[in-house]
């Protein structure tokens, strides 16, 4: 038993969980083509969830702020991207990959820019007065969420809005009986880029450390000569921008969006960051991929269980590791 666990640790420890999951699923599913289709779809789904969850994980895990308004950034990101794409219909529908890509990147950039600016304002007005006070955070961010959703309703109206998908990303890559949606491939790549950049920022600089220290004892960090308030703004803004990018990607995936798009994702986002462990983007990635894969496998093998699968996964992991898979903070 011990030798198994130590071998497990040696070859990557908990990072192997998704691989293990995929292996088990392979045995149960039987058909290799179906397995590949489901696995690729699950991975891409995981990456999109990662984009939405990582921001919250940073803010919640590092700054200890329970931001129920996070979903507003997802929604705004989605709607802004949709509007940009709608304005660039000609480019989106064009037969040129470059124009397609340009339109898509512009849409994502617009969402990210919004996330940065709105995140900054949000921190100043909403979050600042309530650091360290979870319940007031819930109240005030909930208030802000209502306001944000109403603003979306006022601007974009209540009917669903359809999001044009760039021409080069529609359809699937068909290899044998395997079908891989192109959009999911793109989401996967973008998620990976976001992950790597975040990893560098947080691990190659002292930012992560400082923020964690600041949550524990703000005064002491200031007495060491750091402006914790500016740091917090920075992290918050980063988290909001990620949420907005995630929302933009999600809008392209859903193709039909309503103002509730963000809040509908919140439960899954919370599950992911709790599975992953608060404050660590490695954890968020791991959690998101687990949830993505699990969702698809279970939906195929036992559709009745699909709804409960995420909850069960979360409970199982918490029983095994009460702080999640890779917490940055305990």
């Amino acid at each position: 038993m011990n030798s198994i666990t130590s071998a497990f640790e040696r070859y990557g420890g908990i990072n192997l969980l998704p691989v293990l999951l995929a292996l088990i699923a392979f045995l149960l599913i039987g058909s290799p083509s179906t397995w590949v289709t489901l696995t690729v779809a699950g991975l891409a789904m995981g990456m999109m969830i990662f984009l939405m969850a990582s921001g919250l994980s940073l803010v919640f895990g590092l700054m200890d702020v329970l931001n129920f308004g996070h979903s507003a950034f997802i929604s705004f990101g989605a709607f802004i991207a949709a509007s940009v794409l709608a304005a660039l219909t000609a480019w989106v529908a064009a037969d040129s990959v470059i124009l397609n890509l340009l339109a898509l990147l512009l849409a994502i950039a617009a969402a990210a820019l919004f996330g940065l600016i709105a995140g900054w304002a949000f921190e100043k007005v909403i979050i600042k007065p309530v650091y360290r006070d979870h319940l007031r955070q819930i109240l005030i961010t909930m208030g802000a969420l209502i306001v944000a959703e109403q603003i979306i309703l006022a601007i974009w109206g209540g009917s669903p809005i359809s999001v044009p998908r760039p021409h080069f990303l529609s359809g699937s890559l068909i290899i044998g009986d395997v079908s891989i949606e192109l959009y999911r491939l793109f989401a996967f790549v973008l998620g990976l880029i976001a992950y790597v950049s975040l990893y560098v920022i947080l691990n190659r600089t002292r930012v992560g450390l400082l923020v964690r220290a600041g949550v524990e004892n703000r005064e002491m960090v200031e007495a060491l000569g750091f402006r914790i308030d500016r740091l917090f703004v920075g992290v918050f803004v980063l988290g909001s921008a990620l949420a907005a990018i995630g929302g933009a990607m999600w809008a392209g995936y859903e193709t039909l969006i309503t103002a509730a798009i963000g809040s509908e994702m919140m439960i899954i986002v919370f599950i992911v960051i709790i599975i992953g462990g608060l404050g660590s983007i490695e954890g968020s990635l791991l959690g998101a991929i687990m949830v993505g894969l699990m969702g698809n496998y279970v939906a195929f093998l036992a559709p009745k269980m699909a709804l409960a699968s995420n909850m069960i996964l979360m409970m199982a992991i918490l029983l095994w590791r009460p702080y999640g898979l890779r917490p940055a903070v305990k």
Binding site: P129, D133, L139, G143, V147, M315
Partner: protein
């Protein structure tokens, strides 16, 4: 030291006037609720008053957990729903009788108690955030079950049923010479009034039970657990048992509130007794009123319910009054009332950091 003494007195005096204000508000709300059928005979006010009564109980019972003991649970609506569905299903299956209310209500209470004890004993020893997630999971499982067993629960659509004759609007409690329903100050002494007083006194009893609990030695132990669990244990208090006990008590009271709700509404569905939206409402009411204060529940529940029912009308008036002015009428358009509710939350947090009661009486909640 002398300066400190003087200042403490001044502070205490300020706290005292604040507390007086709070008691005055509570008194006013209490009288309004007691006399609601006479003071506000219109239909909507009746609904609002009954809702306030029920939510005061629900919110106060939640405050036992979150404010007094520091337990964050998302399963409170689960117990509320168990009480409501128990009563509702019994009324539906057995027909409108007191036996159905008794049996269904008792069933709801028993199931709540068992579930609360299980959840509490199994998971109250772990970290707060984990417990919150366990309760969230439990609550969502319950919601799925309500949707799946639609033969009993009516699924998403809920169930409608009749209640004992005494509570039907057609019942005449008192009659005048012509045999018509007697009117007292414009209020009809009919079954509706009976139903309202059933809810009112039911809530009152539950509320008094909670008042006793928080003032009892048990209540002080709960506060100690909230403040420093490890130290409470070191003083000789079995923390897990206390937490489980209060979790069960809160669950029972919530289920009790659910019974009242089911009887009053004559309709039970996920949106009225099980949904996460209600959970959020409860949370907001607790925080607005002031955590760790039983009076906060009264103010929070009243304010929030009034806002949910009347803010829109108020805005209608404001919007009409400002008709000539540019921009303002659009911002005040009644359909945007939720926007202003959101703004209201934000302002409340700014100006009443410890909730209304907490801030007024300067008995700051814990940070």
């Amino acid at each position: 030291m002398s300066d400190i003494a003087i200042d403490t007195n001044a502070n205490a005096a300020r706290g005292r006037t604040g507390r007086l204000v709070v008691y005055a508000i509570i008194g006013a709300i209490g009288i309004c609720l007691f006399l609601a059928p006479f003071l506000f005979p219109d239909v909507r006010s009746q609904e609002v008053a009954a809702r306030i009564c029920i939510f005061i109980v629900l919110v106060a019972s939640y405050d036992l957990l979150i404010g007094y003991t520091g337990i964050v649970s998302f399963a409170h609506t689960m117990f509320f729903g168990l009480g409501a569905y128990g009563t509702a299903i019994a009324l539906k299956l057995m027909g409108p009788g007191w036996d159905a209310i008794l049996l269904g209500g008792a069933l709801g209470l028993v199931v709540s108690l068992i579930l609360a004890a299980l959840v509490g004993l199994l998971s109250l020893r772990v970290k707060a955030i984990f417990f919150a997630m366990v309760t969230l999971a439990a609550a969502s499982v319950m919601a799925v079950m309500a949707s799946q067993f639609s033969d009993f629960t009516g699924g998403e659509d809920g169930i409608i049923y009749k209640v004992p004759k005494l509570f039907s609007p057609a019942t005449k409690l008192l009659t005048d010479e012509d045999g018509k329903v007697l009117r007292i100050f414009g209020a009809k002494a009919n079954g509706k009034m009976a139903a309202y007083y059933f809810v009112f006194f039911g809530s009152l009893i539950l509320y008094f039970i909670m008042l006793r609990i928080v003032a009892s030695p048990l209540g002080t132990v709960l506060e100690a657990i909230r403040e420093n669990e490890m130290r409470a244990e070191a003083l000789g208090y079995r923390v897990v048992l206390y937490r489980t006990a209060i979790f069960c008590i809160a669950a029972l009271i919530a289920a009790g509130a659910g019974i009242l709700r089911a009887v009053w509404l004559k309709y039970t569905g996920p949106e009225t007794s099980l949904s996460f939206a209600i959970m959020i409402d409860i949370l907001l009411m607790v925080v607005i009123g002031g955590m760790g204060t039983m009076t906060g529940a009264i103010i929070g529940a009243t304010l929030m319910s009034l806002a949910q029912f009347y803010l829109k009308d108020l805005m209608q008036l404001a919007s009409e009054a400002t008709a000539g002015i540019p921009l303002l009428p659009e911002l005040l358009a009644p359909d945007r009332w939720l926007l202003w509710l959101g703004v209201l939350f934000i302002l409340l947090v700014y100006f009443f950091p410890a909730g209304i009661v907490g801030t007024l009486s300067r008995k700051g909640g814990h940070p």
